[in-house]
């Protein structure tokens, strides 16, 4: 089970709600993903139109993870997190601080600052961050419940481009490592899970697929397969052939 801040979750696939063609397709994809945690951008939430609002299409039983997408500095992120707490009644927040509208790269300085402020306000903070081992150390020491390093630029579907850094982060982390952003196909999720990530978060790859529901299911299977592969303990990689039945086995 995935453990985040004392809570247990069966699925290790977290999903997002952006870029879908309709709220109905989004809802069906969320169900197909089997995810327990779904993140929603607070800037998309409109509590003045509850019947049409994106929140009303999140299946019952899923844990809402409001995110601060659109925040450009720590103060805005904190203000959005408070709105999220007011809207959902929960202390969970996915912290996103992205002042560069082109790359949407997470701001390491403002993210750390916002994390410190939010932890002080007793939020459970899941920060989206660069795949930087030292930054992840700082975020963990600040009291974040997870670290969420990016696999590639958000929305890029480029796969696990930060693999080397993620391996270091996984080896050192005392909190769950959730690989967020950039995973484009199910095998990317499997790869992240095989190297020991605790979970993955996928949005664009599902939302813009020709069949988002099928793609959601595919990511669920790949995430589970990758996790099993990690737990099973892969054999060593060798440059040359190794016979699966040793020729000299009779000597022992």
């Amino acid at each position: 089970m995935l453990q985040i801040a004392g809570r247990s979750f069966r699925s290790r696939l977290l999903v997002g709600t952006g870029k879908f063609r309709s709220h109905e397709v989004m809802r069906d994809a969320l169900v197909a993903s089997g995810a327990d945690i779904v993140t929603v951008a607070l800037r998309r939430v409109d509590l003045s139109r509850p019947q049409d609002d994106i929140l009303s299409f999140v299946p019952a039983g899923m844990t809402l993870l409001p995110n601060t997408s659109g925040a450009v500095d720590a103060d805005e992120a904190v203000r959005l997190a408070r709105l999220g707490r007011a809207a959902t009644g929960a202390d969970l927040v996915k912290l996103e601080v992205t002042p560069d509208p082109r790359t949407l790269a997470p701001d390491p300085i403002f993210t750390l600052r916002a994390a410190e402020l939010l932890v002080a306000e007793r939020f459970t903070v899941l920060p989206y961050c660069s795949a930087d081992p030292v930054l992840c150390r700082h975020l963990e020491e600040a009291g974040c419940a997870t670290v969420m390093p990016l696999g590639a630029w958000i929305g890029s579907n480029r796969g696990l481009r930060t693999r080397d850094a993620i391996e270091v982060i996984v080896a050192q982390a005392g909190v769950p490592v959730v690989v967020d952003a950039g995973l484009g196909v199910p095998s990317d999720a499997a790869e992240a899970m095989e190297i020991g990530a605790s979970a993955v978060l996928v949005n664009t790859a599902i939302a813009v697929a020709a069949d988002p529901v099928q793609m959601a299911r595919a990511f669920a299977l790949a995430t589970e397969a990758g996790r099993l592969g990690y737990l099973a303990g892969p054999g060593a990689v060798s440059a040359t052939a190794e016979a699966s039945s040793p020729l000299t086995g009779f000597l022992t």
């Binding site: 870029k19 063609r21 309709s22 800037r43 659109g70």
Partner: protein, 349 residues
């Protein structure tokens, strides 16, 4: 009196290009269908199956500038009106009731009737119930942009109309807008003041060479992104529409050329929002949503007060897509796109 060239004007004068691939994409011999497919892929990847909706809210048609193509030009004897802040709020409430959460306040160029104080008062009055506010007004050379940002303004829209200095001088006859460099440098001033969304554009049909204007607006977008990395840039390429001015375009831009211009822009600027107004006809708008457009207005009125009290003041230009916001939203849904009414949060409360 004219302003000294700003930094982008100097960059243009240097002849350097940040979008060297664009001329080939604007070539008359391209395979437009193939290009549209490419543009569609790029748009889907970056923006997903979602289109942001907004409404223009005309607050005034008072104007001290004389521009040969515009229905608000000061020389025209037309019904003028500037809304009070209370009337602006009423118009905004009617738009909010239709679903809009992104509003663009539009005016002519009248620094007395549409003063900085007036605009700040509008933003303060609207920010309580409209999460995203932008302006399209005269340009400002003082601290107005900073004051508006402080009040909660998200975006500023300033179209250069044409980057061709000769043609600009012919069509902008009098008033502050006549000053080409003042207008061009205003985007830099707005970005420096912390405006987070900056809309630029050209009025196709104003210049003889629309390709040159598209090339330069793309250059402008790339230059702004390079120099103001926190600023989100959007581009719009309106075509000239009939107005009280009676202006006729020198060289009309055909529908196919228009589609090519937007595809080319998308391919050289994948992360730039492309805005399409109700100037264009329904069939073209519906087609372009599937290719390159990411933000649309709907159900627009271009006269001040026109949502609640139509017919009392001169409109700026005639719109072509007269469908209601709900009808445009339904079209998007049918096309497989999510109409996004709200994609912003109040910057000040």
């Amino acid at each position: 009196m004219s302003t000294a060239p700003g930094r982008f004007a100097q960059h243009l004068a240097s002849g350097a290009s940040l979008v060297p691939g664009l001329p080939a994409l604007l070539d008359p011999g391209v395979d437009l269908e193939a290009m549209a497919h490419q543009a569609r892929e790029v748009t889907l990847q970056r923006f997903g199956r979602a289109v942001r909706l907004f409404a223009p809210l005309y607050v005034s048609n008072a104007c001290l500038s004389s521009c040969t193509y515009c229905g608000f030009s000061k020389d025209l004897d037309v019904a003028r009106r500037t809304l009070t802040v209370e009337q602006v709020v009423e118009e905004a409430q009617s738009l909010v009731a239709q679903g809009f959460r992104h509003l663009l306040l539009v005016s002519g160029e009248h620094r007395v009737e549409v003063s900085a104080d007036y605009l700040v008062a509008c933003v303060v009055a609207l920010r309580q119930f409209v999460p995203s506010l932008s302006i399209e007004t005269q340009t400002w050379s003082d601290d107005t942009y900073a004051r508006l940002v402080e009040a909660g303004l998200e975006g500023v829209v300033h179209y250069q109309e044409t980057y061709d200095r000769g043609r600009y001088a012919e069509t902008h006859v009098a008033g502050w807008k006549r000053d080409y460099d003042r207008r061009l440098a205003s985007t830099e001033r707005a970005a420096e003041a912390g405006v987070r969304r900056l809309g630029i554009g050209v009025l196709l049909g104003l210049s003889v060479d629309w390709r040159a204007d598209v090339q330069t607006v793309a250059e402008h977008a790339a230059w702004l992104q390079r120099h103001y990395w926190r600023t989100e840039v959007t581009v719009s390429l309106p075509r000239i529409k009939p107005s009280a001015s009676g202006f006729q375009p020198l060289v009309p831009v055909t529908d196919a050329e228009y589609v090519q211009a937007l595809c080319a822009l998308r391919l050289v600027a994948p992360e730039v929002g492309i805005v399409l107004s109700t100037r264009e006809a329904p069939a073209l708008r519906d087609g372009l949503v599937r290719i390159a457009v990411t933000t649309m207005s709907a159900g627009s009125s271009t006269e001040p007060g026109g949502y609640l009290h139509p017919g009392e003041a001169q409109e700026q230009f005639a719109i072509s897509d007269e469908r209601s916001p709900a009808e445009v939203a339904a079209m998007l849904v049918a096309a497989g796109y999510d109409p996004v009414w709200k994609d912003a949060f109040a910057l000040r409360t």
